[in-house]
Structure formats: structure tokens, C-alpha cells
Amino acid sequence: MSSLARRRATDYTVKVISTGFAALSLVLLAWILWTLISRGLPALGPHVFTRITLPPGAGGGLLNAIVGSLIQIGVALVIGTPIGLMCGTFLSENGRNTQVGNAVRFVNDVLLSAPSILIGLFVYQLLVVPFGGFSGWAGSLALAILIIPVVVRTTEDMLNLVPIGLREAAFALGAPQWKVVIMITWRAARAGIVTGILLSLARAAGETAPLLFTSLGNNGWSISMDQPMASLPIAIYQYAASPFEDWVALAWAGALLITAGVLALNIVSRLVLAQMK
């Protein structure tokens, strides 16, 4: 075989293999989704949304876990979003090319990729041990710490896209910085910032490990933030490993719910981002 023919053959082979790898990753995604749908859908009935956890065989649902998850994520967003938004704004407006700004950016990257289980241990040590018990507050705080770096990163990226001329125009009219930031910069980057918050929400919704040490889970009706609180990921974790068939079915139903929610949030935010860029 001539050298050219051999090079062409190599090129072709690599292209086929690469296409095969890409196809394989799509197959994996489809396989995971199919597993969730085929096992979760049959288990998904009205009882999942209307009943709380009951002993095996009693036809319990996931109501307390769904409500607990919503409460904890809601509180986490209320705590984490303003801090993340302000910190992202700091990086984009005041912390550019400064030592402090670079340090904050680095630390934020570390927090973004730090193993989430360690955030759980941290909050356990910070809140659960001194206050003598697992609580919804502790769970929310752990989720908030996971939310902050995502919001910081997207906020900074989005604010950096806002044209300098827009700010200059506002400053030229004598506007103070807070007015420029709130009324001009944030408004211009609104869609991107909301996207960041949605992405952080998607991340927090699926996190299990940090909740193990903070809100623990609760098999009863739990809406008191001072008490251990149920959550969907923890319920899935407990049920999936249980020996009872109906509990395992509930775990699949919960897994389908979470994944559908998380993927929907991701797709929506990607669409918004794609339109912006």
C-alpha cells in the first residue's frame, strides 16, 4: 500500500472510531434515560405526590420528600443567590486585575469543583454538632454553599459580556456605581444571570451527599426547619438500597422526577444562553 493510501486509511479509521465514540456517549445517555423511564414511569402514580413515606407495603409516597426538597432548595436559593450575585458583580466590576479579585476567583473555582460531600461534613461540624441535631437549616446552608460558586461564575461571565459603552454612557450622566450596576449592567445581563441561577438550582436539586450529614432525611411529615427534614435525593438513596420492592419502585419514581427536572432546567438555560451569545 502506498504511503498516501495508508494515511488516508488511518484518517478514515480514526474518523469512524471517533464517530463511534460520540455515538456511544449518546447511547449511554439514552440508556440511562430509558432505564429511568421504564422503571420510574410504572411506579409513578398519584400516591407518589399525595402520600408521605409509609412502612413497606403500605403504599406510601414521596410527598414529604418532595416538599422537603422544595423548602430546602428554596431557602438555599434565598441565602445563596444574593451572595453569589454580589460576589460575581464584585469580580466583574471591582475585582478585575486585582490581587484580591484573582484570589476570590481562584477560591471560587475551588469551591465550584470541591467534592460536595465535604461541604456536608463542613456544615455538620459548623451547625449540627454545636446545635445538637440535624436540621433543615443545615441542609439549606449546605446547598447554599453549593449554589454560590455557580452563581458567582455565571454572573461574572455574563457581566463581562456587557459592553463597556453602556457603562460609560451611564457614568457620563453622573450616575453612581450602584445605579449603573443595578439599572444598567444587571439589566443588560439579566437573562444570563437568571440562567446561572437556574443551573445552580439544577445542581442543588440532585445533590445527595451533603444532605446526609445536615438534614439527614425524615420519614414523617417534616416542614420544621429546626428538625431533620426529608428530601428527594435522600429518599432515593434510602429506598434504592432497601430490600422492599415497593420502596425500590418509589426510588425509581423519585429518580425519574429529579432527572426530568434537572435536565429540563439545563436545557432551558442552555437555550437562553445560546440566544444571548
Binding site: F106, V110, A114, G206, A209, P233, V262, L263
Partner: protein, 325 residues
Amino acid sequence: MDATLSGTQADAVLKTAHKPTGRISDPIFVGILWSCGIFVLLLLGLIIAMLFEGGFPALREFGISFLWSTDWNPVTEKFGAGVMVFGTLFSAVIAVIVALPLSFGIAFFLTEIAAGPLRRPIGVAIQLLAAIPSIIYGMWGFFVVVPLIAAYVQPPLIEWLGPIPLIGALFQGPPLGAGMLTAGVILAIMILPFITAMFVEVLESVPPMLKESAYGVGATTYEVYRNVSVPYGRTAMVGAVMLGLGRALGETMAVTFVIGNATRMSASLFAPGSTIASTIANEFPEASIGSLKLQSLMQLGFILFVISFIVLALSRMLVRSKLKG
């Protein structure tokens, strides 16, 4: 990118920005911005301090040999991190070895082969793999992948490769399904989208002129990829792999489901093992406040933090160095 703020130009605008107003509202606003920035700095410091403080008694009890001691016996209250540190590194390395060729191939596909309208949806679909929560990978691995590996992958491998000296040691033991290899494979699927996305970003930053010159002298697509694009982005690509490694090190729920959770050390890919994260998740419920076991788990957490911090810091250095310059 002309229209965006960058570098000194931005500094100049923003410095004049809060001078002339002289109102009380502006210093307050800027103060809030600064304090939120500082808060993030302090948060990381506090996390390090709390993990260290929580685990320090275990370090004092067992000494520095806690790091490599392979004892883990709750009954006799002897604890060591050796098995878990080994399991953490072993499973993460398997994950990178499996994910790396796939990422190279998929990045090649996405940057050079896929036609316009196909490219985005496929890229997004691969990114969605990263959005699926860890616990879902755990369930899928436990109920679907583990039985498959136990039935179809391990028996032939044990039969064919087990008797070979040296590498045979990797393929010993009963085909349980759960173990290091399964954990590594699941981790590989989880980190694949991260590595691929960063590869694509790096490859897209290769100046078109470089590639065009190579095409001009008659190179094939693959040759351009291998000899121009990849060498150009090598540093950043190594950084991307490190980032994937960092993620694999700290994954908890997926690994807990499929690694078998044995606190023994084995060189076999099929033997059940445990990682730092899976041990913490598994054994935490049985550790009471103030117990030596809890302190040992905290110390494990601190070790995990140090390992992932080093890997992430290196990764960030490598990635930034290329993408900026």
C-alpha cells in the same frame, strides 16, 4: 470581543466610576460587593479549618501513619486512611484511563467531523450526561451495570487474563460485578462530558491559520488534529484531564452504590473496595458525635480536601495558562 470590558481599559472606567459621586449610597454598595468577595475567601478558609479541627484528634491518636495505615476496624477502634486513599486514587485513575481516549475521539468528532446542524445537538446531549445527578448514576450502575459486568464482562476476563503472570493479578477474584473496575467505568462516564467540553474549547482556540497551513501541505484531517491542534493545546488539555481527575476523586453517591464498600486493599480490578468519599457516606450513620470513628472520618475528609485541592489548583494553572496566552 471589542465591545466587552477588558483589562486596563475597564480599570480606568471603573476607577473613575465611584469617585465623583460622593454620595453615601455608593460606598455602601461597593462595601457590600467587597464583603461578598471576601466572604467567599473566608468560606474556603473556614471549610479547611473546620475539617482539620474535626479530624485532628484522630491524627493525634494514630500519628502521621494514619495516612497510610490500612487498618480500619471499628470494633478495636483502629483507623487508618490507607485503603481509602488507595481506592480513591485507583478508581479515579481507572476513570481517567477509560475517559481519556473517548474524550479525544469525541472532541475530534465535534470539532472536525460533525456537520453544522448536527454538531450542537450532539454536543448538548453529551453535556447532559454531566447534568444527571450522581445518585442516578449510582442507581443505574447498581441495578443495570453491575449485573451486566458480573455476567458478561468479568467471567471471560478472569478466564482469559487471570492466568497470565503479573497482569493476571488485576483480574482475580469472584465476578461480583461491584468493585473498582465498575466504579471506574461509572466515574469515567461522569467525567467524560467535562473533559470533552474543555477539549473542544481548547481545540477551538487553535488559530485557523496553523491548521490551514498543515492542510495546505496535504495533511489529512487526523494528521492536523494530531500534529497541530493537540500539540497546540497540550498544556490546557492536560489541565482538563486533571479537572476530570479532581471530579472523579470526590464523587460520592455513584461510587458508594457500585464499589462494593470493602475496607480491604486488593490489587484486583474486580475486588470490592472503597474510596474516601464512599467510606464517609457509608460509615457516618454509625459514628456518634465525639467518637474516634467520627474524628477519623473527618480526617479522611480533610485528606480528600487536600488531594482534590492540589489536583484542582494544578488543573486551573494549566488550563488558564493556555487559554489566556
